[in-house]
């Protein structure tokens, strides 16, 4: 990277008289294209990518094998029992759906709010969203007893004249998650069209040109196309924005609408959305740190980006912490002894370790982000966001397993013990996710090139692109 041009610390400027630059170095239109396309076009794939692929591929394979085992043998290969009918399966589902939240937040909400810093990271975050939702969607599909009739959950006209039960939160869930997956994928894809066209134009191999040409949908970059494109993008952003709130709210209804003490609370939608953004952003940072380093994106993804995201993580951590507190407070204040017990049991019952892991990781550790050094130093923020991911997995585990293992009748109480298949599929789901993400990194434009060019210094027509302004 160039040592001249915008220095990294410039991006951190809070001088209100002028906007801080969003990139560093002296990027020009062509260097931006070059830096980004180079990753997808490199004739020689870096060894590190292969290593990462083998590792994540192995886990993805494990996931496939275990899913086969599950489908052939029955859901009993997991540790789920009576009364803990849901355990790792739904924990993983909610965890991955939550991860999938950051993408839409960054791409849609920040787009509508004209937060231009989103541009360098939105493609990556959207990819993460799409893959996370894909992984998430697997779990409810395979966790049911008779997978071969999973389509009965969909409201399709059929000769039996039977509709699904529209009162069931699970049905709402199906609608919300499929809707979210569709919109996220569309948003991701539509945003990628101009960049795919760039790749197509640069492609040397015929097949590559054909494939990219098909994917670019005949993009020529004409003004009319740009006009349509911008409109479509804005509309999709407008459609996606409410989904940021709705998806996890609906996921939380799975719990909130039930009558299980510890689940049946009105705070769940808000609390789940905050938690989802929290975990999603933590995952964005987790992915961004290595991607930026390995793919040479330091000029495009700056410390300011990390700083901004970490501030949101801190804010959502506080929300989540507040929700934890309010849950306990309303249990006490509400006076229902079943609910009071549910929370006491979370904190001091057999799963106390999971509860306190959750509290430490989600509430205590992120407080480090009050310190600027933690927000801006990659090696300091990495452990924090990793712990946030751990904590958020445990949050779902705590909610699901502690509540189910001890509900109303003490005679039916039973602890949950995961089997090796449970652990295998948890690890395997990460394998699937990273496998897909690595494919994305290698073959697709990982940063929105076209959009990027609009935020380069001088791209607004004042001054020359690529010229750092020192006024």
């Amino acid at each position: 990277m160039s040592t001249t041009g915008i220095r990294p610390e410039d991006t951190m400027s809070d001088d209100p008289r002028r906007r801080a630059p969003l990139v560093t170095g002296s990027p020009t239109f062509s260097t931006v294209t070059e830096v980004i396309c180079r990753v997808a076009e490199a004739p020689k794939t870096p060894l590190a990518w292969y290593v990462a692929m083998v590792v994540s591929g192995a886990f993805a394979g494990l996931f496939l094998v275990l899913t086969g085992h599950l489908l052939v043998t029955g859901v009993g290969v997991w540790g789920n029992n009576a009364p803990v009918y849901w355990a790792f399966d739904i924990t993983n589902f909610v965890f991955w759906v939550g991860i999938g939240h950051a993408g839409t937040l960054i791409s849609a909400v920040l787009f509508i709010l004209r937060q231009k810093w989103r541009t360098s990271i939105n493609r990556l975050a959207e990819a993460m969203t799409v893959f996370a939702v894909m992984v998430a969607g697997l779990f409810p599909a395979i966790h049911i007893g008779r997978v071969w009739v999973v389509y009965w959950l969909l409201p399709y006209p059929n000769q039996m004249g039977i509709w699904p039960n529209f009162r069931s939160p699970l049905l709402w869930d199906v609608v919300a998650v499929t809707g979210y997956a569709t919109v996220s994928a569309l948003f991701w894809y539509v945003g990628m069209i101009p960049d795919l066209a760039t790749l197509r134009d640069r492609a040397r191999h015929r097949i590559r040109r054909l494939v990219l040409g098909a994917a670019a949908l005949g993009w020529r970059g004409s003004a009319r196309q740009w006009q349509h494109y911008e409109k479509a993008y804005l509309l999709l952003a407008a459609v996606a924005t409410p989904l940021v709130v709705s998806v996890h709210s609906v996921v939380s209804f799975d719990f909130a609408v039930s009558i299980i003490p510890g689940w049946h609370t009105t705070i769940f939608p808000v609390y789940f959305v905050a938690g989802a953004i929290f975990s999603g952003l933590a995952m964005v940072i987790t992915l961004l740190i290595p991607a930026r380093a390995f793919l040479g994106l330091e000029d495009l993804v700056t410390i300011r980006h990390f700083d901004n995201i970490n501030k949101v993580i801190l804010a959502t951590s506080l929300m989540v912490g507040y929700a934890y507190g309010i849950e306990v407070f309303s249990a006490w204040y509400g006076g229902g002894h079943y609910e009071q017990f549910a929370f006491l049991n979370r904190a001091y019952g057999p799963y106390w370790w999971a509860f306190w892991t959750m509290v430490v990781c989600n509430v205590a550790v992120p407080q480090l982000f009050w310190l600027r050094v933690f927000r801006t130093q990659v090696w300091l923020m990495l452990p924090v966001v990793l712990l946030v991911n751990v904590g958020m997995w445990f949050e779902r585990f705590v909610i699901i397993v502690t509540s189910l293992s001890r509900d109303y009748l003490p005679s039916a109480w039973r602890p949950f013990t995961p089997t090796w298949v449970d652990f295998g599929m948890l690890l395997g789901s990460f394998g699937v996710f990273f496998f897909l993400f690595l494919l994305f990194l290698r073959f697709l434009p990982i940063v929105a090139m076209a959009e990027m060019k609009t935020i380069l210094p001088g791209s607004d027509g004042h001054g020359e692109v690529g010229q750092a302004k020192h006024e």
Binding site: G74, N81, G145, V149, N165, L170, S258, H337, L409
Partner: protein, 1037 residues
Amino acid sequence: MPQSPDPKRHWRSLEELADTPHFRAFLEAEFPAADDPGGVSRRRWLQLMGASLALASVGGCYWEQRELLPAVDQPVDRLPGKPLHFATALDVAGAVQGLMVTSHDGRPIKIEGNGAHPLSLGATDAFAQASILSLYDPDRTRRVVRSADGRAPQSSTWDEFERFAREHFGALRDRGGEGLAVLAGASASPTLAAQRAGFLAAFPQARWYEYEPLSRDEEIAGARLVTGGALRTQLDLARARAVLTLDADLFAEHPAALRYARDFARSREVAGGRTSRLYAVEPTYTITGMAADHRLALRAAQVASFAQLLEWEVARLAGLAAADGADDSPAEDPEAPPAPPYDAAVAQLVRAAARDLWEHRGESVVAAGPRQPAAVHAAVHRLNAMLRNVGETVHYTEEPEGARPAHHEALAALVEALRGGTVETLLILGSNPLYNAPADLDFAAAFEQAKVRIHASLYRDETGRRCHWHLPEAHFLESWGDARSFDGTYSLVQPLIEPLFGGRTAIELLALLRGEAVPRPRELVRATFASIAGEVAPEELDLQALWRRTLHDGLLAGSAYPRQLPGLLAPHRPQPPPPTELDRGLPAGGEMELVFCRDRSVFDGRFANNGWLQETPDPLTKITWDNAALLSPATAAALGVEADTRVRLSYQGREVEMPVYILPGQAAGSVALPLGYGRTAAGTVGGDAEAGVPPVGANAYRLRTSEALAFGSGLTLVPTGTPYRLATTQDHHAIDTVGLRGRARRLGELIREAPLDEYLAHPDFARHVVHHPPLKSLWEEWSYEEGHRWGMSIDLSKCIGCNACVVACTAENNVPVVGRERVLMGREMHWIRVDRYFQGDPEEPAAACQPLTCHHCENAPCEQVCPVAATVHSREGLNDMVYNRCVGTRYCAINCPYKVRRFNYFHYFGDLDQPGNEVANMAFNPEVTVRGRGVMEKCTFCVQRIQNARIEARNRRRPLADGDIRTACQQACPAEAIEFGDLNDPASRVRTAHNDDRAYGMLAELNVKPRTAYLARIRNPNPELSDASDEHDRHPA
């Protein structure tokens, strides 16, 4: 003899049965394997051949085809698919239950109690319910097996055996039966007794030994001690107002347990204002102890001292009363010597109980259990006499077993004879002494002395595997026979199906060995019947009509033994025992007491291969698929034993290692060992060493000696520390403080109970336990005002927790058996469970039980969350499960506050497709769907029974009447705790129950509107003891 109009009617169904495509496929599938034994193990091959032969002969001519009279509800014409009911009787080790068996197209599928039988009154116990599964057990012996010494057993045939028997027993007959010995279990069959007499007449030198590991010998001896005669005690608990049991499990182990449970439950009805009071003194918790108002845990050896003290107290009261000439108010005699300083709890209880019994003299009962020595039984007889109960609540009849020697003495005599070499031929009828003989007899070694050993049994068990001939015995549902129940009522046992595996009964076998060419069991039974009928009903001239009526009714009216009024022999001057003998602390020196118990799941081990019973949780410990040494918490703490570990038990040089279970209420220093586990030749369920199936549980018989058949002192218990998880269905690990507190907080709301005086002061107390704001529904509610409105009520005052309902439900609803590993995983499938909670001091707790089925909530939370509408409400308010719509999200089960839904985590019936297991398919109720993998299931309120009753009523052009529909659990319940019916019928019993003051809906505050009402349990503590009892009863902790 006159013939019935269509003598072939019944058996035609069997031919139909044998002709079904299922059976054709079976036969076709089996023979190819038999053609080529290569690649098939010997055992497998024998099984296949045996099964094929057995099934090929189903339509055969073994059984003489005479009339079988259907019992109740006989339609004018038999309709295919329409179940028939036949009366018969089950004899388990001499204890008889009158049964009504449902037969579907010639296939018995469900056992119910015979309502006309005085000792079953329509109820059954869990064993009777489960015996249907034993009938179709693929592990039953399917062929005659012959093995010469030192050679592998070979498959043989009855023909071969008959040839052998003609020769061998012909020679024996010529010698007068010298060197012949017969070992048989206890039996209540007069025909078998007659056959035995005939057999001994044919072989005058032969010796007959009777052995049961669990016997009533001490009871018989006790009666003889006091009265000099062979007398049997019959209790009338319906009239008793104060009952004290001394180590007696009247509601589970007594031969008349069903009747006693019913009578006791009736006596607990608070409406009549004559609520009885029950005191239980026992070493280990029993279901009778669970039902008791006051329970005292004493070591088994101390019960005698307690009886002595009680006798002294009662005698004092009686003496004082006599001295005062006043009958009613016994006052303390200031001159009387003060009682020695006993343990406070013992002194209090004995005093209060004695007064109570005395106040209710003539209306009280003292009873001792078979574990207690004759002296305790003698004391009990004297007590009942002192309390003037004899002739009132305690009756005496003749004891038909009075003449035989004690069982263990008989076995010892046999061992003696075997050792002496005087027994050459040993015939064993159904017994399994190699498994259950006292360890000190070393039966196995003595047994080898007999040159020819013949064993007839349902299973090729431990004994059968070491006999030269093993003969398949017929199951009682395949047999002609008869039985006299505890009160003497005579019942006929009639076959409902041709012997599946060519089995023959002991009656036939004896006739055969005696030299009868073609034994005709029906004629043999008829002959006995004729002689008994001649005694009972001499005026009855039409014997054939009486025979038909007896077959139909299931009993011969008026055949109960006549009551007698014996005199007591010597006057007895009771002395108080030394206080040290009633010390309830741990015995010094660490020498524990061991107490052998009949197991509530496998009896003495004979039901070890019955999956339904193995999977039924013990009422107290909730253990399935295992037995454990039961210790009280304090004993365990003193010995350093932790829950979920194994211990090594040594007694008189013999050692057994087994898991330990810490049971609150076990007497300190006493270790209870349930018998009947550790079978090595039970079958693929209970353990089969040959087939590589490890035994279920540990064999406690290995510690049992002739001196300590019931209990003994000097047991040492060493913790090994080896972890071992018992497959319990409740309380899965030592509970933490938070959990304990949470449980304590809610128990009073879930199981509502009150002492009688509080109930009388506030009859509707149960409705004021939980207060909640007005309940509003999110949905528009369906009105159930029109038509039927099915509902259930469960009376917690009556429920004794005996598990009959659990097994009945399993049988009726094709509930799968999942096995130990899956119970450990928390996946048991029972549609009804009986929750058990302890309250109070862990050393002396009260226990409560609560049966739980689907409550069929009107606002069912499960229905609302099912995404595919697989669980929906019927217009009559049943919460229906649509199995073929269910996709298995399990959300319904999550949202069920009662956690009564069960999920098929696996395909639980997969093993029935295995070759040789097909026969087990016959045990299924054809009216209930067999659920596959991945679907949810739960109690349906026996919807198939509702539909059957509805169709029946419609065909008869009459409305459904209350009582037309009886759910399986309700039908089996000996205590009549469960009622089911139409809540819209103001006169129905279930409506009456729902209107009862005691009725409450558990968790009704969730606005689920349960259709099941519980009737709060009313305990009746003695006011003298109520300080302590109040705490126990009202504030569960």
